[in-house]
C-alpha cells in the first residue's frame, strides 16, 4: 500500500505542473493583456505601463513563467487586483460557507441516492425502477441555477417557507439552518440523481454474480445479503464515480450560491469576473484544480484500499 501511495503521489506531480502551465497560458490568452483589459480603453500609457510592471507583464515570457511557478509552488497565489488582499486569504474567508453547503449536499445526495439506487436495482423493470430512472434523469438535466431558481420561486417566494435571501452572516443558528436548507437541497437533489444512477447500475452488476446466487441458495436473509454481500462490492465503483463528481459539484455550488445570494466561492468568482480581477481568477482556478487533483488522488487510494488488486495493475 505504501509503495502504491508513493507511486500515485509521484504521478500527480506532472499533472500538477501541466495544470499550472495551462493556467499560465490561459491568462496570457487575454486579448491585449490583463492590464489593458482591467484599465479599459481610457487608460493612460503611463498607468498601463505601471500596472504591467506591477504584474510582471513587461518581463520576457520565460521569466514570467519561472516567477509564476516559483510563486505558486511556494504557496503565493498573488494578490487580488481589486483590493490588494492575498488570494489565499480571500478564498479562506469564504471557504467555510461553500464547505458547509457542499458537505450538506453530499450528505443529502448519498443519503437519498444510495437507498433509491438499491431499491431500483432490486425492483428492476418494475415501477420503482422506472420512477427512479426518470426522476434521476430529470435531476441530471437541471442546470443547477435553473433548479435553484425554480425552488426559490416555489418555496421562498410563493409559499414563503424559507428566506428569499439565502443566509445572513450574523443571526441565530435557526435562521442559518433555514437559509442553508434550500441551497443544500438544490445541490443535494441533483447529486441524488447522479448517485442513484450509479448505485443502480453498480448493484445490478453485483447482483448478477455467482456468489450472490450462492449466498441466496444458502438461505441468507435478504437484508444481510444486500448489506453485507452485495452493497459492499457495489460500493467500489460508486466511490470512484462520486469522487469524479467532485468537479461538477464545485461548478454547481458556484451557480447555487449566485442564485441564493449566499456568500462563498461563487460570489467571489462573480465579483472577480465583474471587476476583471485576473489574478484572483487565476488563483481561484489553481485552488480548484489542486482540490480536484487531491480528491482524485484520495479516490484512487481509497479504491486501492478497498480493492487490493488495483495495486498490481
Amino acid at each position: 500500500m505504501i509503495r502504491y501511495t508513493v507511486k500515485r503521489l509521484l504521478l500527480a506531480i506532472p499533472t500538477l505542473l501541466a495544470m499550472l502551465t495551462a493556467v499560465f497560458v490561459l491568462v496570457r490568452l487575454v486579448p491585449g493583456d490583463p492590464a489593458a483589459a482591467m484599465l479599459g480603453d481610457q487608460a493612460s500609457a503611463q498607468a498601463l505601463a505601471a500596472l504591467r510592471s506591477q504584474l510582471g507583464l513587461d518581463l520576457p515570457l520565460r521569466t514570467q513563467y519561472v516567477h509564476f511557478l516559483t510563486d505558486v509552488l511556494s504557496g503565493n497565489l498573488g494578490h487580488s487586483l481589486a483590493n490588494g488582499q492575498s488570494v489565499l486569504r480571500e478564498v479562506a474567508a469564504v471557504l467555510p460557507w461553500t464547505l458547509q453547503l457542499t458537505v450538506a449536499a453530499i450528505l443529502i445526495g448519498v443519503g437519498l441516492g444510495l437507498p433509491l439506487g438499491i431499491w431500483a436495482a432490486l425492483r428492476r423493470n418494475a415501477w420503482p425502477d422506472y420512477v427512479t430512472r426518470v426522476l434521476s434523469l430529470a435531476g441530471l438535466s437541471f442546470p443547477a441555477f435553473v433548479s435553484g431558481i425554480l425552488m426559490l420561486l416555489a418555496f421562498a417566494i410563493e409559499l414563503d417557507w424559507f428566506p428569499v435571501i439565502g443566509s445572513t452572516t450574523s443571526g441565530n443558528p435557526w435562521g442559518q439552518w433555514r437559509g442553508l436548507a434550500l441551497p443544500a437541497f438544490n445541490l443535494g437533489l441533483i447529486m441524488t440523481g447522479y448517485v442513484t444512477r450509479v448505485t443502480r447500475s453498480s448493484m445490478l452488476g453485483v447482483l448478477g454474480e455467482d456468489y450472490i446466487r450462492t449466498a441466496r441458495a444458502k438461505g441468507l436473509r435478504p437484508y444481510q445479503l444486500i448489506m453485507r454481500h452485495a452493497l459492499r462490492n457495489a460500493l467500489i465503483p460508486i466511490l470512484t464515480v462520486v469522487g469524479l463528481y467532485f468537479g461538477t459539484l464545485i461548478g454547481n455550488s458556484v451557480l447555487t450560491e449566485i442564485v441564493f445570494n449566499r456568500p462563498g466561492i461563487g460570489k467571489l468568482i462573480l465579483g472577480a469576473l465583474n471587476s476583471r480581477d485576473y489574478t484572483l481568477l487565476q488563483g481561484l482556478m489553481i485552488v480548484f484544480a489542486v482540490c480536484v487533483i487531491v480528491v482524485n488522488l484520495l479516490t484512487d487510494l481509497a479504491y486501492a484500499w478497498v480493492d487490493p488488486r488495483v495495486k498490481y495493475k
Binding site: 501541466a18 490568452l29 461548478g251 451557480l255 449566485i258
Partner: protein
C-alpha cells in the same frame, strides 16, 4: 483491397448503426426524447415564421406585461415578447451545443485514436492533456476560457468544446488499442497501407456508434453549460436572445414577474431532458448486456 476490412470479424459499421437505429425506434423512452427534441429543433429552424413578434423589438408601453392574448408568455422589462425570444433562443442553445460537441468529438476522438494507435510518447502526451483537462471543474474551466477570450458566440463554442474533449479521447483510445492488434489491421499493414489510412478507414468506423452516443449525452451537457455561462453573464452578448440570458435578465424581477423566468427554465429543461433520454436509450441499445431486453 476493401475485402480486408469486410472480412474482419467485427460487423460492418453500417450494420451497427442500423441496429442502433432500429433498437432506438423500438424504445418508448427514446421516442419521447426524439419528439421533444424535434419540437425544439423545428422551433429553432422556423423561428422567423413561428415567432409572433420580433425578438429584439422593444415596446416600452408593454413593459413587464403578464401573459395575455397578445403576448402569450408575457413581455420582459424592455417590452420584448418572451415567447418570440424563447423561440429564437432555441437557435443559440442548439447551435452552441451542437458545434461545441462536434468540435470536442472530432478533436477528442482523433487524439484518442492517435494516442491508442501510436502509443509511446504520443499516448503519454495525450493522456497527460486529458489529466490536465479533467483537473479543472468543467464549469469553471468554461467560465475562465470564456472570460479570458471575451464574450462571443465563437469563444463560447471553443470554451465549451474544451471542457468536453476528455471523454471523447477516452472512448476512442481504449478500442483503438484493442483493434490495432487484430488481424485485419495487421493485414492492412502487410498490404502497405499507411497509418493514416488504417486509422481513418479501418479503425475509426468501428467506434462511430459509441462516439455518437457519447455525443448526444455531452450535447445535453454543452447546452447546460451554455445556459449556465449565459446566466453568469459570459454568454452571447445582448440583445440576442439566449435562454440563460433571459433568466439572468428576469432574475431582477423575480419577485413579481415569474413568467420571465419560468418559461426559459422549462425550455432548457425540456431540451436537456430530451437529449438525455435519447442518449440513455442509445447507450442501452449499444450495451450488449442490455440488448434484446424488453423495456
Amino acid at each position: 483491397m476493401s475485402t480486408v476490412a469486410t472480412s474482419s470479424p467485427t460487423p460492418a459499421p453500417a450494420a451497427r448503426i442500423d441496429t442502433l437505429w432500429r433498437t432506438l425506434l423500438g424504445n418508448r423512452i427514446a421516442w419521447i426524447g426524439l419528439i421533444l427534441l424535434a419540437i425544439v429543433v423545428l422551433a429553432a429552424a422556423f423561428a422567423p415564421w413561428i415567432a409572433p413578434h420580433d425578438p429584439i423589438e422593444q415596446h416600452i408601453a408593454y413593459r413587464l406585461d403578464p401573459p395575455s392574448a397578445q403576448y402569450w408568455l408575457g413581455t420582459d422589462s424592455y417590452g420584448r415578447d418572451v415567447l418570440s425570444r424563447l423561440i429564437y433562443g432555441a437557435r443559440i442553445s442548439l447551435l452552441v451545443g451542437f458545434l461545441a460537441v462536434l468540435i470536442a468529438m472530432v478533436v477528442g476522438s482523433s487524439l484518442g485514436i492517435l494516442a491508442g494507435y501510436l502509443g509511446g510518447w504520443v499516448d503519454q502526451l495525450v493522456m497527460g492533456l486529458v489529466d490536465v483537462l479533467l483537473s479543472f471543474p468543467a464549469l469553471l474551466l468554461g467560465l475562465m476560457v470564456a472570460a479570458m477570450l471575451g464574450a462571443s458566440l465563437q469563444n463560447l463554442v471553443v470554451a465549451i468544446a474544451i471542457t468536453e474533449i476528455a471523454p471523447f479521447v477516452r472512448v476512442a483510445r481504449a478500442p483503438t488499442i484493442a483493434l490495432k492488434q487484430r488481424d485485419f489491421i495487421e493485414a492492412g499493414r502487410a498490404l502497405g497501407f499507411g497509418p493514416i489510412r488504417l486509422m481513418a478507414v479501418h479503425i475509426l468506423p468501428n467506434m462511430v456508434s459509441e462516439v455518437i452516443v457519447l455525443g448526444s449525452m455531452w450535447m445535453a451537457t454543452a447546452i447546460r453549460t451554455e445556459a449556465s455561462l449565459s446566466f453568469i453573464g459570459l454568454g452571447v452578448p445582448p440583445p440576442i436572445a439566449t435562454w440563460g440570458g433571459m433568466i439572468r435578465d428576469g432574475f431582477d424581477n423575480i419577485l413579481d414577474s415569474w413568467w420571465l423566468i419560468v418559461f426559459p427554465c422549462l425550455a432548457i429543461l425540456v431540451t436537456v431532458l430530451a437529449l438525455n433520454l435519447l442518449g440513455d436509450a442509445l447507450r442501452d441499445a449499444l450495451d450488449p448486456k442490455l440488448r434484446g431486453e424488453k423495456r
